[in-house]
Symmetry: C2
Subunit: 263 residues, 2 copies
DNA sequence: TATAAATGTATTATTAATAGTACAAGTAAG
DNA sequence: CTTACTTGTACTATTAATAATACATTTATA
């Protein structure tokens, strides 16, 4: 069984740890909707914790709408529809201005301006020391609920070829290609991180919540950086999906990502 | 709306939350090695906590070797300690038994056995109610340091075609194809989650740390589930990378994931 | 050298988390 | 109805986390 939960130090409280444990069991599907949890006393015994602590954890789960409690009955895992809309993005269209997505989503602009990017951004965009970039911070909403926090850098010389109005009506990549930029390739890195204070406010989550982190750098045919995107997604409202199919000869088989036209 | 660090309830202690935030800022590279952190007083002010709380968080960071502190000087982000190897996986070879990866990594088996899978797993594998699966929980290490926590379900009828020795020497997919299973396609979902107690212990991270979560289901040509993998990755030791190139006609341009042979 | 700023240390008071216990109230089953 | 089990509520005692303050020590710098 689970080792003992720790009380002290920066390891989180016992109730927090138990909350995470149960939440993960639910959201991962190990406890299906409708499943009845053990009673509070039994949970307390199982995790060697007092009933107060168990109740703290269960109250937090109820606030997130993951469980239902009824006196005399017990605690049940909620049905999933509470989860509302989960936006899914296939790997090949992880783009900021997808047409389909645009229809059902709004954008809130938090920051806009020009300045000197941080070292990491400048290096990945392969810019000189003195070059400036256009910075924009946006929050994307679906059904009036925020699900992504986007920080975009575009080299100033490129950004000047369009204005904000254009951005509202046309996908960025179309704008760029119309103005002569020849897009060639992009590198994406996916990771996970925690919500900081500002992001947490914008995405309406608690500080310290887990977020999907995606960084994409787009290059033109000359290898010059065109766009640097850092995106943070709420995992309960956004998923990244990748479909693969088996390809190759019998001796040399590998997985091939599905391209848009074959989907 | 949570703008302040929360003290009460199952949200972890303030020092824990601050610890996680700072740790993530360091390991993600937002704070480069050598960077000087704000002073304890300033940090306390910025996060609206007391200095004691800041010190708790900093002490935890020092225990992990992420920062250096010197009286009269300040707190510096440490240079990347040895063993900061970051394993990267291209999207098309997100496989549990890659040859290249296998060379430099070891596996620790935590659980192994047969049983009835949870509903979510069973549905995704498209199994009947009574069918059993082989369950294995593994931790993968690189340079003796854990970076992934893998939970695998394989339908019993398929799992019986190989034994554990085979698994040690040959990639699972090769084993399966040799025994007649015709792999066809796979669906992957990438998300983010927090480390629970058991996972945290296995991966040697703090409870509540962010983790990359990946679920993959592999199907054969008849659409039957062959493998269900749930993987949790330490973001400081593992990255998922996807390279795309621009393809299509002028009127219908899209992003095409790069296949292995073109890399 | 004097000053400022940083960490290290110490103290006190307040508040929150936890454990343990007890009892009330709702529900289902015999 | 009675019994058993559930959640809801209340209370006390203990311990940890936090806030606030003060002061010492180390270091860089003007």
């Amino acid at each position: 069984m689970a080792t003992q939960l720790q009380r002290n130090g920066p390891g989180g409280t016992k109730s927090h740890q138990l909350f995470l444990l149960l939440k993960d069991a639910i959201t991962s599907g190990r406890m299906a909707p409708g499943t009845k949890l053990s009673g509070e006393l039994k949970l307390a015994e199982e995790h060697r914790v007092s009933r107060v602590t168990v109740r703290r954890a269960l109250e937090a789960l109820m606030e997130e709408g993951l469980i239902m409690r009824k006196p005399g009955v017990g605690t049940l895992v909620c049905e999933r529809p509470v989860g509302a809309t989960v936006m899914t993005a296939s790997v090949s269209n992880l783009l900021p201005n997808i047409v389909k997505m645009g229809e059902s989503s709004r954008v809130r602009l938090l920051e806009f301006g020009y300045g000197y990017p941080q070292d990491g951004v400048r290096e990945r965009l392969r810019l000189e020391e003195g070059e400036r970039t256009q910075l924009s911070v946006r929050v994307r909403l679906a059904e009036d609920k925020p699900f992504s926090y986007l920080t975009t850098h575009v080299p100033e010389r490129i950004a000047l070829s369009y204005n904000e109005e254009d951005l509202g009506s046309t996908p960025l990549y179309s704008l760029l290609e119309r103005s002569g930029v020849r897009l060639d390739h992009a590198a994406q890195t996916i990771s996970a991180t925690l919500a900081t204070k500002d992001v947490a406010e914008a995405l309406d989550v608690a500080v310290g919540s887990p977020l999907i982190s995606l960084t994409r750098v787009v290059y033109d045919v000359d290898g010059r950086g065109v766009e640097h995107l850092h995106a943070l997604y709420r995992p309960d409202r956004y998923r990244i999906e990748i479909d693969l199919c088996r390809a190759g000869d019998a001796d040399d088989r590998y997985w091939q990502p599905l391209a848009p036209e074959s989907q």
